[in-house]
């Protein structure tokens, strides 16, 4: 029994390539049950990939998405919130500075200066 070359081009192919060609031919003649099972396996793999990709995409988008305001009302609320936060921080800093000055004045008047004042930084 010979493996007959099918065309003049095939005459130049080596034995491994001819074997590979016949193996490919065998894959084209596979029974329908196996082909269906392989198709199902492929779809299952692709479904898993889609689910995997979506879960990652959801995590990334969700984290970036939720803090951004979407409506004008939300934008106004966000601007007001930021203004209140900035104002509160400035007022607290002012109070803190004033309190420090008051403490220093009292210390000078009572001649009760803390040691830190005499240390040359």
């Amino acid at each position: 029994m010979n493996i007959e070359p099918r065309s003049p081009h095939d005459r130049q192919t080596s034995a491994p390539e001819q074997i590979a060609g016949l193996l490919t031919l065998a894959t084209e003649q596979m029974d329908s049950d196996t082909v269906d099972a392989l198709r199902r396996a492929r779809h299952a793999a692709l479904d898993r990939q889609m689910a995997h990709a979506h879960s990652f995409a959801f995590d990334g988008i969700h984290i970036l998405h939720w803090p951004i305001p979407h409506t004008p009302r939300q934008w106004v609320a966000a601007v007001l919130l930021i203004a209140v936060l900035v104002g509160s921080a400035g007022y607290w800093q002012h109070l803190h500075k004033h309190e420090m000055m008051a403490h220093l004045d009292i210390a000078i008047l009572t001649d009760d200066m803390p040691m830190e004042v005499f240390i040359d930084n």
């Binding site: 034995a15 590979a20 596979m30 196996t34 392989l38």
Partner: protein, 201 residues
């Protein structure tokens, strides 16, 4: 002629359609490779499905050009994992049952099936298609009888169309080993086929 055209190596990430097309083009050859290795249709299907899921989940977003190499690596590792599990299972079965290991191996003795093919009392093939099927069956049987590493190297190199470097990367060995495995596999296949009446040029 090689069974498929290798995609160009590019850094462009694979789209779901490209991944689907790649798996569609590869699945039958992958199944056959697994079948040659494990000789069980259901196990071969499980191995291919596992390899596809691993590729899709972990490397589905890799560039399309890298998919063939990655898939082959996953497939061969999955086949090796099956061998390891089977070895452990066989060890326990041997311990727990009265069957000897030789009995289990005899189930896969290829000489039994070869004896059927040498039965010259069978009627001659009626047409070329049947003859071709017989040749394919003998080739597949000869491939099953090859040592695992030789079969792996032969199929990757000549059927999957990988070059020596890629084959070595998938098999985790040196390029020299790939050449040796391929050469031995080709000689062993030619000899096995000649014994069954198939002449290679």
């Amino acid at each position: 002629m090689l069974p498929f055209h290798k995609p160009k190596r590019s850094n462009k990430l694979a789209t779901p359609a490209e991944l689907s097309q790649f798996l569609g083009n590869t699945e039958r050859r992958a199944y056959k490779q697994a079948l040659f290795a494990v000789r069980d249709e259901h196990v071969a299907l499980d191995i291919v499905q596992d390899a596809m899921i691993k590729l899709a989940e972990k490397y589905g977003d890799k560039p399309a050009g890298e998919l063939p190499l990655l898939f082959q690596r996953i497939l061969q590792n999955t086949i090796r994992d099956h061998y390891r599990r089977q070895k452990v299972r066989n060890a326990w079965t041997t311990l727990l049952s009265s069957l000897t290991p030789k009995n289990g191996e005899e189930e896969y003795d290829p000489l039994e099936s070869l004896a059927d093919d040498d039965n010259h009392s069978a009627p001659p093939p009626p047409d070329a298609a049947l003859q071709q099927k017989q040749v394919i069956a003998r080739i597949e049987r000869a491939l099953e009888r090859l040592p695992a590493r030789q079969r792996e190297a032969f199929l990757l190199r000549y059927w999957e169309g990988m070059d020596i470097t890629e084959t070595a990367a998938v098999m985790g060995c040196t390029e020299g080993s790939v050449k040796t495995h391929c050469s031995r596999a080709t000689h062993a296949l030619a000899a096995a086929l000649k014994n069954t009446g198939v002449e290679l040029p």
